[in-house]
Symmetry: C2
Subunit: 194 residues, 2 copies
């Protein structure tokens, strides 16, 4: 044994693939300098043809500086043929469901890691009901968006069922996407027309 | 000239890549049978490791029957390294921005086609401001989700600027994603814990 290892604390091992020591260090850093928690995320979208468009997600602002993902990612969206699209990609509203499931999942994994819970499997399904009389302009009484969304999680891990259920509940309480989708957020739209 | 072409009406040409005749026929079909407008969209998500998960979008219900996209599409989401993720993919909240841009764009293309406006270019950028003190659990006064979202469209086409701006406004009024993101929707979460 070297002096170095003797004076070090036992290492806090990453859990669930989460680098828990860095997670705690990050929390401490933000506590000491709360302004670094202000982030801005961005998408740029370009129309392709018909109802088909493509968004690119790459740069964002965070921790006081301009940042980029390791690589740019592009995602298409389209309408299905039954809605007179070419079905080149899922619909915009389906991406809301992906956002919701992935946000709740990432949150519960972090919370589990912080609490020392080892998870073996997390799966979820999300269903959103929508009556297209709204977006088709055929009814002013039917809303345009989903009328309700249901998420079902199946969670397996080294903890009692009650603890596993609580992880999902804690994640819900701190989920950015859940907050936006349930509470709404102001959206400002500007148009530069040539 | 054959008799067939002489007796046919002049064809209504697709515009902006939108099959306008089928779009109008679809609207007529829904007017006559409004229950076919009830749709359900779905996502299934599976945790990969850390904050990395993957959603699959394939089947949906619509027009009175189970349907599928031409192919299944899978999308990853992750947290960036500055947020202690592995940055395998964009964050869940960035997919909200893709959903919003693509929904507003698809809507305005359809509306333009229905009104006989030829568009040459539609681009948009979306920015969402978020203060992570909320999701990090470091403040109960800061919301978890975006505090505000700004969309900027650049539209070019064969119509006056005022008409082009009005296309975006009409799309906003009938956008499913804009409705969800600005007004919120109830989300029910259930957990099956092993």
């Amino acid at each position: 044994m070297t002096t170095a290892t003797m004076t070090e604390k036992p290492p806090v091992m990453p859990r669930n693939g989460v680098d828990t020591p860095t997670l705690f260090a990050t929390l401490d850093a933000v506590k000491g300098q709360p302004e670094i928690a202000k982030f801005q995320f961005r998408a740029s979208n370009r129309w392709v043809a018909g109802t088909h468009s493509r968004s690119t997600l790459h740069g964002f602002f965070g921790a006081g500086q301009e940042m980029e993902h390791k690589q740019a990612h592009s995602y298409d969206a389209d309408h299905p043929q039954v809605l007179v699209g070419a079905d080149n990609a899922p619909t915009p509203v389906e991406f809301l469901l992906h956002a919701l499931a992935s946000c709740l999942t990432a949150g519960m994994i972090n919370i589990a890691a912080a609490r020392g819970v080892d998870l073996t499997s997390v799966e979820s399904t999300v269903e959103g009901d929508i009556d297209l009389l709204g977006i088709l302009g055929l009814s002013d009484e039917v809303r345009n968006g989903y009328q309700g969304i249901r998420v079902t999680f199946r969670v397996d891990g080294d903890a009692p069922a009650e603890t596993l259920r609580d992880l999902v509940e804690r994640s819900r309480q701190r989920s950015a996407v859940y907050d936006v989708i349930t509470n709404g957020v102001p959206v400002d739209i500007r148009v530069e027309a040539a």
